[in-house]
Symmetry: C2
Amino acid sequence: MKRIAIVGPGLLGGSLALKLHALGGSEVRLWARRPEAIQEIEARKCADFASTDLREVAGDADLIVLCVPVNAMGGLAREMHGFIRPDTIITDVGSVKASVVNELGRILATRGRFVGSHPMAGNERTGLRAADANLFQGTTCMVTPDDNTDPIATAEVAAFWRRVGCRVVQIAAREHDECVALISHLPHLIAGALIHAVAGKNAHAFQVVGPGFRDTTRVASGPPGMWVDILRENAPAVLASLDAIMTKLAELRGILASPTANAESLRNFLAVAKQTRDQIQFPK
Amino acid sequence: MKRIAIVGPGLLGGSLALKLHALGGSEVRLWARRPEAIQEIEARKCADFASTDLREVAGDADLIVLCVPVNAMGGLAREMHGFIRPDTIITDVGSVKASVVNELGRILATRGRFVGSHPMAGNERTGLRAADANLFQGTTCMVTPDDNTDPIATAEVAAFWRRVGCRVVQIAAREHDECVALISHLPHLIAGALIHAVAGKNAHAFQVVGPGFRDTTRVASGPPGMWVDILRENAPAVLASLDAIMTKLAELRGILASPTANAESLRNFLAVAKQTRDQIQFPK
């Protein structure tokens, strides 16, 4: 990969540019919509070339990485279709995959080789200011080819993510969406609902929170605009996940409300949760 | 405080002993039920004196700190009542307060001066092996005197917790229980329910979890036995908290299930949650 075009200088795009720039061996180009962002990119010295002109940045790239909100990807892909090379590989960092793969696969069917990706990196911070060359180190990146995807492009995209520090898992777009609904989108809703529940019942409680509450709710400090897009794009899977946890909470409620507060059922519920969690191999 | 007796060498008791030993200026005595624990205490060098004989440890103490599960406190208090000095101050580290203050206040009404405490320290680890002299540093300790509590004893207990590194908040036992139900007991149930929901829907998802899921569920790795006691002791407040979050989740479900997935309501829900959380002053 000689020329790599990163489209969008946010937390992910900026971190990717910093890492690639540090690794060397490729020309790093960065596109931003706003002219002020170009100045920030130049000050941060994370790209060899930066511009608001998409054609200048992506026109003869070997790899284009779309690092913009999922609902902005279609428009940019249509624009690119007019000038990219037929063999250019395009990937993205979108948090939902079935809709993105479907839309971008269709737009780029006759030009370029698209492969969906979702690097599970990032935190509650946003923007180039929060960018960090080590953001991807040790994280998991899901790559979601389908029957129409060029297998060589899939292999190149996987190698690209490994190069910036990710562990790569290949998965179908639909299963990806079900998994992230469960492990990312649902936890986000729950963290928000927890904050609302405390605020509604007794806001004094915020004055005595400990590290448990801090960690349990951390994701709720993420950018609302981005999360609205993610949750709406993945609404069917998110709803199914919400139903699953509401069933579990109702079950717990029944256990706790029984006259004897059913110690054995409660112990079993908590012990299975602990055992299951203790077996998870967390990244980093 | 010349002689301090710590009853129970678990994570909290052990950490307290280590800290007091490091601070110096008092004689640190540690009681354990099991003889093997005495050997561990001696190996860890965290007490000036350790024994399985409660009278030897607590008999002439100036301060006794009960660091055992809440349902073991009554029995130990009754035993102590037979031999402690009338002016000995007794406190505890129990995670629920109304029931403990009621029970221990009654048992110790005629001997000793009891003041309830709840240092919000600890993590998902347990036992003397996990003890850490800095465990209390920067954490909040709630002290819960009632109308029967000796105000001098309350001041001494508050000073004791400040000495080991806590920020002290004085609060009524009942309000304490409502607050911890919201910020600690409810998050524990939710973390467990989240693990169960994922396991039930698609256990493959555990293979691609990121730091968000790790943090959101961390508390679920806590000791089930201890949590069964806490949740049952505080069942009424926990049930009210569960109802509050289930109402919020049902509200979110309605927003997401509407044909337009109601972007403005969703954005507002998430933005208020973020804004509220960003204003919390977390410890450490």
